[in-house]
């Protein structure tokens, strides 16, 4: 009995018990369903072992949407709790756990997964490749992310969630002030997921450098691919910092080291420093792919080539360098001197310049274009004003002396949500809607999509604009309740209505997926948006080898030129195609990671040893395995291509 006590949730409420039952029942229902419909074989051979970048992308997408739901429910609970003064819906401890998991889930498991989903699906198609450079590593990346996310979500029902904020600052996150195991979940789950992200970073850099179609020079790459390249460069250079910081934090919590303690030579502030050395580039890791998506969408639906391609590329590169030079602005108030704050204040403001260049380039792309107000375009148009408001308030926060006033108030919360929601969520929804026909062979309903957009856009404004006011009035961030005389009530109530609008938008998106899957036409051709880049040059749904013949490129918009300038994309004959084999190893290995992580969280060492041995054995097997892939014969490719032609035309 003593053994099981450690798994108990520290602040149990009826809701948590109900959730436990619900999660248990759902799990049983899913497993029973798969067994009943005899889908285990299909699941294993088509999804769990797949190394196909398109399927991995779709799995990322599904996970991201699930995590968006989870993080969104957290957000709704927070807004509901603060909607009225003195509300007692949640206790202080629950509120702490909820804002922590909201932040972690949204950043690490929703936003990161969403950008990786779109990069996975789109980048190899956009550069005319058959897959990523290391397909099996790609599968490993996904499963590491997935197991990290599942481990983190397990904290909700087993052992209790972390509660020291998504930034998990020490000394609050240390053993003394957070004695419960919740923060162990944070350290270990993020370590596992972060490993996956780092592998993705390396994988995509190699893919983009090495596997572009003949003729596609770096300066002929589509902008989404450019942004993906720079994003992955940032990942590769920024994530090791997080890895090290998490490892040090884990050692502090599990093995009694003193990296971030207050005594024995530890330096708690160093955690904040490391966290933001990673954390600021992370902001650009999230927003750069979004910029890439907007560039594609705006150019496609303005029926014009992108204005200022070169300056777009240069500004991405400049942002990627500046991204590493501004991190101190996250803790201007920690006590460093005026000189340090001034330096980082100036570098911070410098970022507004390349970002401004991009905004103007998009506006000039639309100038005199034939604008089509499709759903992806609406998100892109909504992004520009809302993101600008978020960005301008960011410049306000970047003024170090003024930041003493704004720091850790709701003003900050309003700022970063108004940057991240249009800068990431809008872009991901735009990208999802835009590439949906390529992924699934039918288009999402435009009418429902527009309803969803308006709910989300208005909901965002309504949810976060009031926070500027209540923040300036002094409402601190992460405050679980306030008294009536504070006068924050009305602003928080408005915020809550905004949150409901966002929830409604999400429900409409889910309904749209269901509705379109059921009723939308499958006869959409390969290029339903009349787009410009290579991903639309292949068939829909995309065959596993992507392109029957490698395309040959000599411009920035190869598909457009082949449609309207009469250039030929596919010049060669169909040949045998070399493809990678599926493998169950990544999935099995990450199960060991999951078990090892769980063991580490609860300091159950035998479990850790066994799981670590499992990982080592799999690494050993992989090292001595010979896998030369397989060939799809030209005959077979020709047959598939002919069948596709019959299907869609």
């Amino acid at each position: 009995m003593e053994f099981f006590k450690q798994f108990a949730v520290p602040n149990p409420t009826p809701t948590i018990y109900l959730s436990m039952v619900a999660i248990g029942l759902t799990l049983i229902a899913v497993l029973a369903g798969i067994t009943y419909f005899k889908k285990w074989g299909y699941l294993w051979s088509e999804w769990l072992t797949t190394v196909d970048h398109k399927r991995i992308g779709i799995m990322y997408l599904i996970s991201a949407l699930l995590m968006l739901f989870r993080g969104g429910v957290d957000a709704l609970m927070m807004r509901a709790q603060t909607s009225m003064p003195g509300n007692e819906l949640l206790s202080a401890a629950e509120y702490n756990e909820i804002f922590t998991t909201h932040g972690v889930v949204m950043i690490f498991f929703m936003a990161m997964a969403f950008i990786t989903a779109l990069m996975n699906f789109v980048v190899p198609l956009q550069i005319g490749a058959r897959d990523v450079a290391f397909p099996r590593l790609n599968a490993l990346s996904f499963w590491l992310y997935f197991m990290g996310a599942m481990l983190f979500n397990l904290s909700f029902v087993i052992g209790g969630s972390p509660s020291s904020g998504w930034t998990s600052y020490f000394p609050l996150a240390g053993n003394e002030l957070s004695p419960h195991i919740g923060t162990n979940y944070y350290m270990i789950a993020l370590q596992i997921a972060g490993l996956g992200t780092l592998i993705t970073g390396i994988n995509f850099i190699v893919t983009i450098f090495k596997m572009r179609a003949p003729g596609m020079k770096l300066m002929k790459m589509p902008l989404f691919t450019w942004s993906a390249l720079i994003t992955n460069l940032l990942i590769t250079f920024a994530f090791p910092v997080l890895t090290v910081a998490l490892a040090m934090g884990t050692m502090d919590r599990l093995f009694g080291t003193h990296f971030f303690t207050m005594d024995n030579g530890g330096m708690a502030m160093l955690w904040a420093n490391f966290f933001w050395v990673w954390g600021h580039p992370e902001v650009y890791i999230l927003v750069l792919p979004a910029f890439g998506i907007y560039s594609e969408v705006i150019s496609t639906f303005s029926k014009r080539n992108l204005y200022g391609y070169t300056s777009m590329v240069v500004s991405i590169v400049v942002i990627s360098t500046l991204a590493f030079l501004v991190w101190v602005h996250h803790f201007f108030t920690m006590g460093q001197g005026a000189l340090v704050n001034s330096i980082f204040s100036i570098t911070t403001m410098a970022i507004a310049i390349p970002t401004g260049i991009k905004i103007f380039n998009w506006l000039f792309t639309m100038w005199k274009g034939k604008i089509q107000f499709t759903v992806p375009m609406l998100y892109s148009l909504g992004f520009i004003p809302i993101f600008t408001i978020g960005g301008v308030t960011g410049v306000m926060l970047g003024i170090a002396s003024a930041d003493y006033q704004y720091h850790n108030t709701m003003f900050l919360v309003a700022h970063f949500h108004l940057v991240i929601i249009p800068g990431v969520v809008f872009a991901m929804l735009a990208g999802m809607t835009y590439w949906w026909p390529k992924m699934f062979g039918f288009m999402l309903n435009e009418r429902i999509g527009k309803w969803a957009f308006w709910n989300i856009a208005i909901g965002t404004c309504l949810a976060f604009f009031p926070m500027f006011i209540s923040g300036l009035d002094g409402q601190a961030r992460r405050m679980y309740t306030y008294s009536e005389v504070a006068g924050f009530g009305i602003w928080n109530l408005l915020s809550f209505f905004g949150a409901l609008g966002l929830a409604m938008g999400f429900i409409l998106i889910v309904f749209n997926v269901y509705y379109s899957a059921r009723y939308a036409s499958r006869d959409i051709g390969d290029d339903p948006w009349d787009a410009r880049t290579l991903e639309w040059a292949t068939r829909t749904p995309v065959p596993e080898y992507n392109f029957a013949v490698t395309p040959q490129v000599d411009s920035r918009e190869p598909l457009w030129d082949s449609k309207y300038e009469g250039k030929t994309l596919f010049k060669e004959e169909i040949k045998d195609i070399h493809m990678p084999n599926n493998s169950g190893q990544p999935f099995i290995m990450t199960i060991f990671f999951f078990v090892a992580g769980f063991g580490l969280v609860f300091s159950m060492w035998p479990v850790v040893y066994v799981a670590a041995a499992g990982i080592a054995v799999l690494l050993f097997i992989r090292s001595f395995e010979r896998d030369d892939g397989r060939h799809i014969h030209a005959e077979e490719v020709r047959e598939t291509e002919n069948n596709k032609r019959g299907d869609t035309r």
Binding site: V241, N273, V277
Partner: protein
């Protein structure tokens, strides 16, 4: 004959051995902490650069430009992080 003799590799090998010996001297000779650290840092980075260029063929492949660019970018970021952290946490605090 000159084409057959791998002069670069031999010089590189001897140089890397020499660098190792110099680094080892920090342990065997009695020098101050500062001097020791300076010697270790210099030999370590020279050694890493030597290995990268001579034995990992950084300059010999067709995409040596992007390899060097990535390396410089990495060095820049490492320096920015180390000295920025020192600035924020120690010197400017």
């Amino acid at each position: 004959m000159r084409e057959l003799f791998p002069a670069n590799q031999v010089i590189g090998f001897v140089a890397s051995l020499a660098l190792t010996v110099i680094a080892l001297l920090v342990y065997f000779l009695d020098m101050s902490f500062t001097v020791g650290m300076v010697v270790l840092l210099l030999t370590a980075f020279t050694q890493a650069g030597l290995q990268l260029v001579v034995f990992m063929h950084a300059g010999e492949s067709p995409d040596s430009d992007s390899i060097y660019l990535n390396t410089y970018y990495g060095i820049f970021i490492a320096l920015a992080i180390v000295f920025g952290s020192l600035l924020a946490m120690v010197w400017g605090y």
